[in-house]
Amino acid sequence: MRRRHRFNLLIWLALLIVAVLEFGFSFAPIPAGARPILMLPAVLMVALVALGYMRLLTAPEIARGFAIAGIFWLTILLGLAMTDPLTRSVYAVIG
């Protein structure tokens, strides 16, 4: 049990460190177009919670399958939603 508590504490500390770094980086002079890069620490934090507190690696196989399916369909959702805005050419109106 002590090992599990130590593991939980380490995950909490890692989450806090990433959160502080994320907060600090948000004040860096990043161009507006590149600022969505600030979402990357959140991806790391999501992985820490899913693997640490939600014990995804030791979950039943079918549960891991559901988790992977969720990520897969989220990728499809976000990918298709952004296909149009990222590939459309906007031409200036002449005259």
Partner: protein, 225 residues
């Protein structure tokens, strides 16, 4: 209760929490955990629609969207992030305690988790009060941001209120579930060998934490250039 009752009674003597349709307690626990993960996968797509809206709107109106984001109350959003991360840690500790058979500690962890969750909600309500009193509600009336950026800013604040309200709704459900776990634990429902509901509610609580982890930079940080 019928002709199956004698068999059910025998089963209850061996594993009192195992329902008849499962081969054993492990099978039942795995099914419950998998069921919660299936629900969470559907929730990923539910909140995924919101994130898609954020990406789409910011792509077309970056200046207005960021003008709106700069008006958010950063200290409340950041404090709430720390609170939710801590609440997941506390609840996970409670799960570790009940695995070792310590129901008293589980109850304490549940109560602390509920206090942190309630504090999060109170801060969120206070933040909404500040936002609305400053004229940031995207209604047809007065809106603080004017000029060329007004349209994008209105889109940002529409996203903000929808996303935070949906998250708060999930938080209220979560606080209720953790309270239910605490009551059940007090009645002696959980022991070292059986604590599946504690585990399942923990998955839900951590997912609500994850949603805020994703919303926090999208709302408070990305637009603060």
């Amino acid at each position: 209760m019928n002709s199956l009752s004698p068999a059910r009674s025998m089963s209850e003597e061996v594993a009192p929490h195992t329902h008849f349709q499962y081969a054993d307690a492990g099978h039942q626990a795995n099914t419950a955990v998998a069921g919660m993960w299936l629900f969470l996968a559907s929730e990923v797509l539910f909140f995924g629609g919101l994130i898609a809206a954020w990406m789409f709107c910011r792509h077309w109106q970056p200046a207005g969207f960021d003008a709106g984001a700069r008006e958010t109350v950063l200290w409340i959003g950041s404090l709430n992030l720390v609170l939710l991360i801590t609440s997941s840690f506390v609840y996970s500790s409670g799960l570790a305690f009940i695995k070792a058979g310590n129901a008293g500690r589980l109850i304490q962890c549940c109560v602390l988790t509920m206090i942190i969750g309630t504090l999060f909600l109170l801060l969120k309500f206070y933040e909404w009060h500040i936002d609305i009193s400053e004229g940031l509600f995207p209604s047809s009336g007065f809106f603080k941001i004017t000029g060329a950026d007004a349209g994008g800013a209105r889109m940002f604040w529409s996203f903000y209120f929808v996303a935070t309200a949906l998250h708060a709704l999930h938080m209220i459900v979560g606080v209720g579930l953790v309270g239910w776990i605490a009551i059940q634990a007090r009645r002696g429902a959980y022991v070292a060998g059986w604590f599946t509901p504690v585990e399942v509610v923990g998955l839900y609580w951590s997912f609500v934490d994850i949603v805020w982890i994703v919303l926090y930079p999208a709302i408070y940080l990305v637009g603060r250039g």
